[in-house]
Subunit: 432 residues, 2 copies
């Protein structure tokens, strides 16, 4: 099956990795792959032709840090700081969630993400095998992990949980290479050293990605140093042997200059979560410094309980705005850089070199952004328009691996009515 | 003509000024006025009944600082800091604009604003009589001024401009009290003392509102002090006798504690413009301190060339997020406070005591926000949902003075096709 997308404005990636805005060109997708980007007259034929007039065609957005099923907790505990928010508002509800709830909440999250242009998402939450299944059936792309936690005060490894972590990575394989299973260490403060080391050991054979929260709050960062002879979370994780190019670290708000050196050397990616960091008042990550040092920085929404949505357009906007003002420099984190955070850098963080860019040979993970609404005209500078003017709702088509999953308000792989009915039933039971 | 809006979730204002979320109630509008808010069974009859199931009914948003026709310059000079942006990118284009362009650009701005829930807007730009006419014909509510400028180095008052400022206030009267004409002093740096004093003198009879830019950048603030024996822009304006409850001051990023005392005493309102201040890297206004001091703070988008849209939902989101994080306190500028900035406080800043709240006897300036999309469910806390989860595109109905101006993508008073055609013609000529 091949599709031609014609008459759109294409945000392609050139040979040097920079964006090139193409007009009068088309994209031809063959199966899962982008086969051709170029002038219409030289394009190969396709089984289906779609007119993308007055649409920007861009790489699908990569949400590199999230907790999808937290749609079930949207807005819960709004206005509290991180620790109080977790302990008094979030954990008591999470204790009630069943695997079926997770499936329902994740499906609802995927609906929101597809409608706002996310094609690939990292998900860290309970009952990840359910998330894995829902991702598979929905057609979205994602990385899923069993949360690596060891609550006890001793270094004893919780065998069940450890085995579940390993089994997810070993047994959940997707022949389409669309849904990845990976390891997770919740954080320095919730994962004991023996656990971290054992994951590192087993992953030296399995080579899965490793997802971890790092230095989200000042308290977490300082308490780690107090516990570990002055080692920061990054230094501690390095000591445990877990840091390499497979590792991506969410938040990194309080990382120090030395941490950035380690991240650069070990090729660890950072994930910027501007809404969550602002809403929980966790601090401003030094994104500009990370980029200058050559650290790969991705973008994420975090769970929608601390955001309170999964809208990557909002993250791009907020992230770019705050970094300029924090640095007192309007040229910082410009729209092209921000679009890379939200696409190719996210893909790289999640261990995917075959997506995040519109380029021949890459997977066809493509979204169409409408220019129909007043706020999208005039369109002098396409990257600026996408970051500063657009809303998530301007997305009118979301394609993953060549399959259209969402188009003009309709979901192709999800029964929206049923999903809403199930979501309401869950919410009524959990909070009823 | 009377309308009943039934089955919606109503964000009403109680006697103490706090929000009250009402379910199972309805709103009845008689002519321009909210006649009834309460249980359906006690409601008076109405000529028309509209089902607002799964919609939040809230006060229309008040955009208290803008330059509407700058839709013609959307995204121009993106990434430059304020002074360079103005001098190299904006002013050369503005020199080309005709009164007809202003009408076209303002109409385009109003379309964007109505579609994202703004019912009342402050507008400061050239050819304001054109803006006045377009506001009148569109049905939106707004304040319009002739920009008070005196470019020359002497204190000589530019007679033509001064007369135009006065004539706008004297001659442009709206019998519906919907479009106000008011005075404007561009800023301390572009308006000489003699000009400011003469406006103050004449306004002691006319009692119009006065719109002024204050302490937007550190450079502006410090240069004022250097020019005026250490007086800040607020102190300088006070010395010129212009500050009173009619005055509202945009930006106020660099105001000092003493300035806030003056603003509080003189009842001067401040207007927070988070996107513009971030995008131009002008600094973070001390909104929390202003509110604590008892200064009335409103919210604005500024012109869409430095934003790059006119979406008040985005401003609420960004503004609330950055203040929490700057103050390292997740409880700061909560969603109810932010909704007040964007509604009743804005109305007060613009000299309007009859709007900005859903209360019996107030003007019927009401918007409906849809809960249909995945990101708007669950809806545990309506103010949080509006500030943190909603997008401007969730607005499905915008009513001003009891007239529905926008509903489900359709404009009732503007020919959208014609407006787009004219906008394109303007853009092609200006930049062609």
């Amino acid at each position: 099956m091949s599709i031609k997308l014609k008459n759109g404005i294409i945000l392609a990636t050139g040979e040097n990795g920079d964006f090139r805005v193409l007009e009068g060109s088309c994209i031809v997708i063959n199966g899962k792959i982008i086969e051709y980007i170029g002038p219409e007259e030289d394009a190969p034929c396709a089984d289906e032709v779609k007119d993308m007039r007055n649409r920007i065609l861009m790489p699908g957005l990569v949400n590199a840090h999230g907790h999808g099923p937290m749609t079930l907790l949207r807005g819960v505990g709004g206005g509290l700081a991180l620790q109080e928010w977790l302990e008094t508002a979030i954990f008591p509800i999470e204790d009630k969630l069943t695997p079926e709830d997770i499936a329902v909440g994740e499906r609802w999250a995927i609906m929101e993400m597809l409608a706002s242009g996310t094609t690939c998402v990292s998900d860290m939450y309970d009952f990840p095998w359910k998330t894995w299944e829902v991702m598979k059936e929905s057609g979205i792309k994602g990385n899923v992990c069993r949360v690596g936690l060891s609550f006890s005060d001793t270094e004893e490894i919780p065998t069940n949980r450890f085995n579940e972590c390993v089994s997810l990575v070993r047994d959940y394989k997707d022949e389409d290479d669309r849904v990845f299973s990976e390891f997770c260490l919740h954080s320095e403060y919730l994962t004991k050293e023996a656990f971290v080391r054992k994951i590192a050991e087993i992953n030296s054979e399995l080579h899965a990605n490793v997802n971890v929260h790092v230095s989200e709050t000042r308290r977490e960062h300082e308490e780690c140093k107090a516990r570990h002879n002055g080692l920061t979370p990054i230094q501690y994780l390095e000591k445990c042997g877990i840091l390499d190019e497979n590792t991506y670290a969410a938040h990194c708000v309080w990382v120090e200059d030395g941490d950035l050196e380690i991240m650069k050397e070990k090729k660890v990616s950072a994930v910027f979560n501007p809404s969550s960091n602002c809403k929980l008042a966790s601090g401003f990550a030094s994104i500009d410094k990370m980029l200058t040092k050559g650290v790969n920085v991705a973008l994420g929404t975090d769970g929608c309980a601390s955001n309170d949505n999964l809208n990557m357009f909002e993250e791009m906007h907020l992230g770019s705005m705050i970094i300029k003002n924090i640095k007192s420099d309007a040229t910082k984190l410009n729209s092209e850089q921000m679009l890379k955070l939200a696409t190719v850098n996210g893909a790289r963080a999640m261990g995917r070199t075959d997506t995040g860019e519109l380029k021949v040979g890459k997977r066809a993970d493509i979204i169409a952004v409408s220019l129909d609404k007043p706020h999208m005209y005039p369109a002098f500078n396409i990257p600026n328009l996408l970051v500063y003017s657009a809303q998530g709702s301007d997305v009118v088509m979301t394609m993953v691996d060549g399959n259209i999953l969402y188009e003009n308000g309709e979901y192709k792989t999800i029964d929206a009515e049923k999903a809403r009915f199930e979501m309401k039933k869950c919410i009524d039971r959990i909070y009823g």
